[in-house]
């Protein structure tokens, strides 16, 4: 799924709104919206977060790990992991995308890659 690791979503040329994950219909303009592919920069701000100590079987080996709702700079929000120590997590912190293994299907199965996030120093 290329959208997952490239952060490809959509942009509506009619109303200017950005969407991630990609949508074929613009909820603002519905059928009159003109949608085009948009690759997000991946930089954004943590809206809220948690540190997970008890996970489903697929993620048990990662505990504890941080999960956040991140608002991308273009506007849309998404859910993703933030790779840093739980003590460093803060509402309002800036993050940047990092390419990571997300999971594996069985011992020798398919490896899933995807985007995680890391703290970003916002200084230019």
């Amino acid at each position: 799924m290329p959208q997952r690791y490239n952060l490809i979503g959509t942009h509506c040329k009619s109303c200017g709104e950005y969407y991630f994950p990609p949508r074929t219909l613009c909820p603002n303009c519905r059928r009159t919206g003109q949608m085009e592919e948009h690759r997000f920069r991946g930089t954004g701000t943590v809206i809220t977060y948690t540190t997970i100590y008890s996970a489903t079987e697929d993620f048990e080996r990662l505990t504890p790990y941080n999960l956040a709702i991140i608002q991308l700079d273009e506007g849309p929000k998404l859910t993703g992991q933030v790779v840093c120590s739980p003590e460093d997590m803060k509402i309002g912190m800036r993050v940047r995308p990092v390419f990571r293994i997300l999971g594996k299907e069985g011992e020798r199965g398919i490896i899933y890659y995807g985007t995680k996030f890391a703290p970003a120093d916002d200084a230019p």
Binding site: R4, P21, I47, T48, Y49, T50, T51, I52, Y53, S54, A55, T56, E57, D58, F59, E60, L62, Y65, L67, A68, I69, K77, L78, T79, G80, Q81, P86, I91, L102, G103, Y112, G114
Partner: protein, 387 residues
């Protein structure tokens, strides 16, 4: 639309029911409801059954026909429909049954709910429940249900000053109510210190902030109000039935600290009933996590946004307070067999309005409300009931 009343109720004991299968639970609750209403099988026009995930929990689908069969109704060929809206499946079954009677299409209709959750490992149960979130864009990145509610809690605490202790007070109150309820999963009272020192699940939520994994079933019998008194001395009117949806994924919401599905369902329900939140004496709300009850009492309009934590701390939602919330013990202490929860909520309100709630009876309860949420707020149902 015809006026609709509840003329019979039944509910199993909630908890780990290793002694009973899904079909045993259904038979137990179905018989109780039908006997309570004094109706014969031949009188039943339809069944609606709330069930979230029989396929994952007991590898049984086709729950509609199964329930009609084991309720002893297979030779009557009564239409039986399973409805699913995650943890709001029971509330939705009640609404479908209500619509069938209100429309005039059916007279006597059963609304039931059932879930058998303890036959699988906790990992499998967590994964089955996670299916109510957005599998591709939340769970794929490691989200769990407690994690989604933990993120709501974190932002609610930051924005409104809700404290860790206020969250714990929800669990303390609901265990206090639950210890007076014979069908509840837990009869133990707990203290704030117990909650805040229990193991972390998804920070800031801990084990005692979370509703348990539960087996159980509940059933209601509905009839047109104009014939309800033929069956029952104390029929309970359904003044309103409302449903609303929102984005499946939490990150797509307008406001992470408000469940808009609750706000819209509540607005519709209060308009239908021509009542306001101040008129409600007793409410069963969806406290799957402690923060869930705080959101509910704000989004339903019982307290201004951001003041749910303080209201809980001040005892305003306990029995004897402004509005008695979760007298059954709620999902937290009474238990949360997901597909049955919305029906059990109505069961508790019916007992309260009939004056049959025993030690947890709310004085002069005349108007009650149920609030059932699916997922992290993708679906919400609100029903208003009256003596």
């Amino acid at each position: 639309m015809r006026a609709v009343s509840i003329i019979g109720v039944g509910c199993t004991r909630f908890g780990e029911r290793w002694d009973s299968s899904l079909r045993d639970l259904v038979v137990e609750t179905g018989i109780a409801a039908i006997e309570d209403a004094g109706v014969a099988g031949e009188a039943i026009d339809a069944l609606y059954v709330g069930n979230m995930s029989g396929g994952r929990f007991v590898e049984q689908e086709h729950i509609g026909a199964l329930i009609a069969d084991y309720a002893g109704l297979s030779r009557l060929h009564i239409p039986s429909t399973r409805v699913e809206a995650a943890c709001a499946s029971g509330g939705l079954a009640l609404r479908e049954a209500f619509l069938a009677v209100a429309s005039g299409y059916a007279d006597i209709v059963i609304a039931a709910g059932v879930e058998k959750m303890t036959d699988v490992s906790s990992g499998v149960a967590a994964d089955a429940l996670a299916a109510a979130a957005d599998r591709e864009w939340e769970c794929f990145f490691g989200a769990t249900f407690p994690a989604l509610y933990a993120m709501i809690a974190r932002l609610h605490m930051r924005r409104y000053g809700t404290t860790r202790e206020q969250l714990a007070q929800v669990a303390v109150k609901n265990h206090h109510h639950g210890h007076m309820n014979p069908i509840a999963q837990y009869h133990t009272e707990i203290k704030v210190e117990d909650v805040v020192s229990s193991p972390l699940v998804a920070d800031p939520l801990r084990v005692l902030d979370c509703s348990p994994i539960t087996d159980g079933a509940a059933a209601l019998v509905l009839a047109p109000s104009d014939i309800a008194s033929r069956y029952c001395d104390t029929p309970i009117r359904i003044l309103a039935s409302a449903q609303a949806s929102d984005s499946l994924a939490l990150h797509d919401r307008r406001d992470i600290t408000t469940l808009d599905a609750t706000v819209y369902a509540a607005k519709k329900a209060f308009a239908q009933a021509r009542l306001t939140p101040e008129d409600i004496d007793v409410a069963e709300v969806h406290d799957c996590f402690t923060i869930g009850e705080i959101l509910a009492i704000e989004d339903l309009g019982f307290f201004p946004k951001g003041e749910g934590g303080a209201a809980t701390e001040e005892g305003r939602t306990a029995i004897g307070g402004d509005v008695a919330v979760n007298t059954s013990g709620g999902l937290k202490a009474c238990g949360h067999p997901v597909g049955a929860t919305g029906i059990k909520q109505a069961y508790e309100i019916v007992l309260q309005l009939r004056g049959e709630a025993g030690k947890r009876q709310v004085d002069d309860a005349e108007i009650g409300l149920t609030h059932n949420v699916g997922g992290s707020g993708g679906t919400a149902l609100v029903h208003i009931l009256s003596r």
